[in-house]
């Protein structure tokens, strides 16, 4: 079902984890739909993404696109990172099955959400960046175990 690259990034995801006091954190997706992605960015004073980490709740494609997206933005400038589209992520993974294309959108959105958070914290505006819609807390219920 998945390409070798997808399987590689799924089984050995790069950059899993958290960044304490991150410059920006973005969480997108909805547990109801089965996918949530969170991206942490560490951005230096020159606007370069020094470090990036992610956490993902989702299918193989969701994990692999998160991993690939972090690789693609690491070391890039904020403006370069903005250009990392879901299409670029998919291409870097040698493609995804049609039913999994929506998972790759999540990675793009998560980066944008983290950049938005960074901009808000810094009190700056990033050209071409729109406020992300996040509905992560919708439908989050707990049941007894």
């Amino acid at each position: 079902m998945y390409t070798q690259k997808v399987m590689d990034h799924f089984t050995n995801p790069r950059n899993v984890g958290e960044i304490e006091n991150a410059s920006g954190v973005g969480t997108v997706g909805n547990a109801k739909c089965g996918d949530i992605m969170r991206i942490y960015l560490d951005i230096d004073d020159n606007g370069i993404i020094n470090d990036v980490k992610f956490k993902t709740f989702g299918c193989g494609a969701a994990v692999a696109t998160s991993s690939m997206a972090t690789e693609l933005v690491k070391g890039k400038s904020v403006n370069e990172a903005l250009k990392v589209t879901n299409k670029a992520v998919m291409e870097a993974l040698d493609g995804l099955p049609p039913v999994k294309v929506h998972c790759s959108l999540l990675a793009e959105e998560a980066i944008h959400a983290a950049l938005w958070d960074y901009a808000e914290k810094k009190g700056i505006q990033i050209e071409g960046l729109e406020k992300p819609k996040s509905d992560i807390h919708e439908g989050e219920e707990q049941i007894e175990y």
């Binding site: 739909c33 089965g34 996918d35 992610f54 709740f57 049941i143």
Partner: protein, 392 residues
């Protein structure tokens, strides 16, 4: 593939070698068409009759009440559509449950588009149909009650005898989708008051592409597939003789080995459940603890997603299944898990393991070890788990 651990026997089973052996002569030697008049074809006719007899006996039915089909889906479609057609003068209302297989649910949707009214009765948190709600749903126009014998995802066994009694009391035909139950549980159509029953050979170590619909004498019936006069004019199409013979053999073996086989499955299943519940935190077992198919376990692991779990199990040569939406490419997770009241995100983390007597304790222990590792790994990368830990 070598050395796999097959834990997906609810999806399909291995055809037993004895079954294949029984089928083989009917491909290249006794290949005649049972409808032909000559002696050569007579041997096929006899073989088909013999299989029909084995199956009828297994259900306590008469041979004239067994109609071969191409599988469980065709049987389910047939039962519902035929009832709607045959009982149109009485009404247009069907009662079923919320946790039926898609072969029933999607047929109901189709029928709804064509003027049929359908009530989908709720189940409780263990997946058992609410009998009071079922009985209250009955109208003067109700022409069929269709409730599955045992659920394919969570393994819950329904109170079939009670449903049969309600149906009988109100003189409504009662159909049951027994695709997961036939050959695995004792079923007597008379004791249980079943009027129609669907089954599929490949769920009991028989071949794929062959099933049957049991139709009690006296129940009005219409054809789904029109044409030649096969199956007493009720189901057209040249008989799948090797398939029918294989089905007969599979039923014969399933009935003969049922007790011993299910005991073994229950033992392994319990080991699997016990270890997972004890060794993995934040997990629950879905479905009824007691009224449950012998070989079925269904877990929900909080904070993780089913497809990822399946793929990682696969990389460890373990074949399993999930009710996650991501596996099926749909937006919602399993309708069965939602119907028993699981929140979406927990339904997403479900894992179904369905055993066979061929599984070993070693395989089960290996599987539990791997589940532990994988669940741990996936939770480490789960934002939901992170939030949960931080909140504590």
């Amino acid at each position: 593939m070598e050395n796999k651990i097959y834990l997906d026997n609810a999806a399909t089973t291995k055809t037993r070698p004895e079954v294949v052996e029984a089928m083989l002569p009917y491909f290249t030697e006794l290949y005649g068409n049972p409808s032909s008049v000559y002696e050569f074809a007579n041997q096929n006719k006899k073989a088909v009759d013999e299989a029909r007899k084995i199956i009828a006996n297994a259900l306590g039915a008469d041979i004239s009440e067994i109609y071969f089909t191409a599988g469980g889906s065709e049987s389910d479609n047939w039962a519902l559509k035929a009832a709607v057609d045959a009982y149109a003068d009485k009404g247009n209302h069907i009662i079923t449950s919320k946790i039926e297989h898609h072969a029933i649910l999607h047929t109901c949707e189709y029928l709804e588009k064509h003027g049929v009214e359908v009530t989908y009765v709720d189940v409780d948190e263990n997946g058992i149909i609410k009998l009071d709600q079922l009985e209250k749903a009955i109208r003067p126009t109700t022409i069929l009650i269709s409730v599955m014998f045992a659920n394919n995802e969570i393994g819950t066994i329904q109170p079939i005898k009670e449903i049969g009694e309600i149906a009988k009391k109100h003189k409504i035909p009662f159909h049951t989708d027994a695709v997961q139950a036939f050959g695995h549980l004792d079923i007597n159509v008379n004791d249980l008051g079943i009027d129609m029953l669907s089954a599929s050979a490949h769920k009991l170590n028989g071949p794929k592409g062959i099933g049957f619909l049991y139709i009690r004498k006296g129940i009005k019936i219409r054809s789904l597939i029109h044409g030649g006069g096969q199956e007493r004019q009720r189901r057209a199409g040249t008989e799948n003789v090797p398939g029918i013979v294989g089905f007969g053999k599979a039923v014969e073996l399933a009935m003969a080995t049922m007790k011993e086989r299910t005991e073994k499955e229950i033992k392994l299943r319990n080991l699997l459940m016990k270890r997972v519940l004890e060794e993995v935190p934040f997990v629950r077992v879905n479905g009824d603890k007691v009224k449950r198919l012998p070989n079925n376990v269904n877990f929900s692991f909080q904070f993780i997603e089913g497809e990822s779990l399946l793929i990682m199990l696969d990389m460890n040569r373990i074949c399993a299944s999930s009710g996650s939406a991501c596996t099926s490419g749909s937006l919602d997770p399993s309708h069965v898990l939602l119907a028993i009241g699981l929140p979406h995100e927990i339904a997403h983390g479900s894992l179904r393991l369905t055993l066979s007597e061929e599984n070993t304790e070693e395989e089960i222990n290996y599987t539990v070890d791997k589940i532990k590792e994988i669940v741990d790994k996936l939770r480490k990368m789960s934002p939901l788990y992170e939030d949960f830990i931080k909140k504590r």
